[in-house]
């Protein structure tokens, strides 16, 4: 069995950023394992622009963003293996992997960074009545067919779910000559970024039908149409509102789930809300020496934040291997009030400044984000609007954390004034 200081599972934006950060922190024995046939991960099929505004202060496409990090990996001669699938990770950091060159092999790792990303939720398909003809795709599958393989999956399209991938695909298919008839969203709000609703739907007069879902799929060999319906406030379809739309393609954009089979196999506890590992401020899981970052930890809106998080994990993993990891002098649990659904990290073990990321459960206007140490408010920030589709950040300074009385921080959302909401 070979021994390597740091093994990174996944060569997408998180894995590449983590590898570069660990290298720059002085680590040289690094191996990046990637299941696909190129570094870059899902960025390679995201040919649209809008990536890198925070990182590079310019608007890049997905492949360009990936190329910048791939270049950094190549410049540093960081070793990587493509077409390599990791089969198992043990709690004592032994990795079992397979590829067609090396066969089955095991590696003893000084530290491991989990950067496997996420996959699409297929749930939308399971609850829809009717037949199962050809022409039903997840939005990401359609994206791969069009942007990597060069095939159009259909001409007359209905999209279920208004996540960003669904919105991006509505525009992409329109520009390639398809007719996108509607985007149906079960919730009364879109999970996608506001800018994507503008530039992907409004620009092309594609209707966004909020509080609507697909209740039946029609067609034998190929989709011939779908029946959609308005849903009530309990998300139950209202029969009188059923409406038939002829189409040959149904895309599902129903959210993303972190891909954590390997994490579970290693016995690493997951957060039930994020479906990712429970981590501290260094993105270290509950098993020392195993770190997680990127969409495998929690689904991000922006790749810029993935890179930022991966660098934290990369530097921390390097410090762990080098024996420089700061001894944890405390254990602070981060709790949420339900309006805030989760935080990452979930725990803090040092008094250094830390950025806490979170998502809210619903659309709220005129809110105050509040962090309490017992009864004492240590941080507050007003926001005109928060939505589940946009990740929020709170930056806690070392001063905030040094003087805590308790061992728990409570994150809550306070609605400032319901009347102001109606006026605005």
């Amino acid at each position: 069995m070979i021994s390597i200081d740091l093994v990174i599972v996944g060569g997408g934006s998180a894995g590449m950023s983590a590898a570069v950060a660990a290298y720059d922190a002085g680590l040289r024995s690094i191996l990046l394992l990637e299941r696909g046939n190129a570094l870059g991960g899902i960025l390679l099929q995201c040919v649209h622009n809008g990536f890198g505004l925070h990182r590079f202060k310019e608007e890049l496409t997905g492949p360009e963003y990936a190329y910048r990090y791939e270049t950094q990996v190549l410049e540093r001669n960081i070793p990587f293996k493509l077409n390599t699938t990791v089969l198992d990770i043990s709690p004592d950091r032994v990795i079992t992997a397979i590829n067609s060159e090396d066969g089955l092999f095991t590696i003893r790792a000084g530290a491991i960074i989990l950067a496997m990303g996420c996959r699409e939720r297929a749930k939308g398909a399971l609850n829809i009545a009717g037949t199962r003809p050809a022409g039903i795709f997840s939005a990401g599958t359609a994206q791969k067919y069009i942007n990597i393989d060069g095939y159009m999956p259909g001409n007359e399209v209905v999209i279920l779910g208004s996540g960003d991938i669904g919105l991006i695909m509505a525009r992409r298919m329109t520009l390639e000559g398809a007719h996108v008839k509607a985007v149906c969203e079960l919730m009364p709000y879109s999970g996608g970024l506001a800018r994507n609703i503008q530039q992907c739907l409004n620009d092309f007069d594609i209707p966004l039908m909020l509080s609507h879902t697909v209740v039946e799929i029609h067609g034998r060999e190929r989709v011939t149409g779908v029946t959609i319906a308005h849903v009530d406030e309990k998300r139950r379809p209202i029969p009188e509102t059923r409406q038939y739309i002829a189409c040959d393609t149904l895309l599902l954009s129903c959210g993303l789930i972190p891909e954590n089979e390997l994490t579970c196999g290693a016995g690493i506890p997951l957060d039930r809300v994020t479906n990712g590992a429970i981590v501290d401020q260094n993105r270290q899981t509950e098993i020392p020496g195993i770190f997680a970052c990127g969409n495998v930890l929690h689904v991000h809106d922006l790749v810029d934040y993935v890179s930022e998080e991966a660098e934290i994990a990369g530097r921390a993993a390097a410090a762990f291997v080098q024996g420089n990891a700061a001894a944890s002098d405390r254990e602070i649990a981060l709790r949420t009030d339900g309006k805030i659904r989760y935080t990452v990290p979930q725990r803090i073990t040092a008094a250094d400044a830390v950025s806490v990321y979170f998502r809210v459960a619903d659309v709220y206007r005129n809110v105050q984000i509040t962090v309490r140490d017992g009864d004492r408010v240590i941080y507050e920030k007003k926001k005109a609007k928060v939505t589940p589709g946009e990740m929020e950040t709170v930056r806690l300074s070392a001063d905030h954390l040094r003087t805590l009385d308790g061992n728990c921080l409570e994150f809550s959302l306070v609605l400032i004034d319901a009347q102001e909401e109606e006026q605005s």
Binding site: N49, L60, Q198, E390
Partner: protein, 120 residues
């Protein structure tokens, strides 16, 4: 006249309010968190511009992602895609290769966004 716009310059998605005079000229832009939002709102009311991204065929098979290197008039997006779809890219083109100069007289070039050099 007041007009509401969602800014598309960055992922913040500011809800801009534009004040237009009787000649449809921009008098003021409210709610923008940065200067780029003001510029976007002004352009959007006069002549909306968009960057186009897509894929172009490679000589000998396959496709490569491309983009316009600056925004072009919004109404030319579909026409631009049709030109892109008919333009074949050399199989060894490095990233950033200009495949169409001054596409549709917009002043924008269409460039590749993936490195084919040394790949094929």
């Amino acid at each position: 006249m007041k007009k509401e716009l969602t800014c598309i310059v960055c992922p913040m998605g500011c809800q801009l309010v534009v004040d237009l005079d009787e000649h449809n000229q921009v008098r003021a832009v409210d709610n923008a968190n940065c200067k780029r939002g003001v510029a976007y709102a002004t352009a959007e009311c006069v002549a909306p511009m968009r960057t186009v991204t897509g894929t172009a065929p490679i000589v000998g098979g396959g496709i490569v992602p491309v983009k316009t290197d600056r925004a072009i008039p919004k109404e030319l997006m579909i026409d631009c895609m049709m030109v892109i779809n008919e333009t074949y890219v050399p199989a060894d083109a490095p990233i950033g290769t200009i495949i169409i100069e001054n596409v549709l007289d917009t002043g924008a070039n269409v460039v590749t966004t993936k490195d084919l050099h040394g790949v094929n």
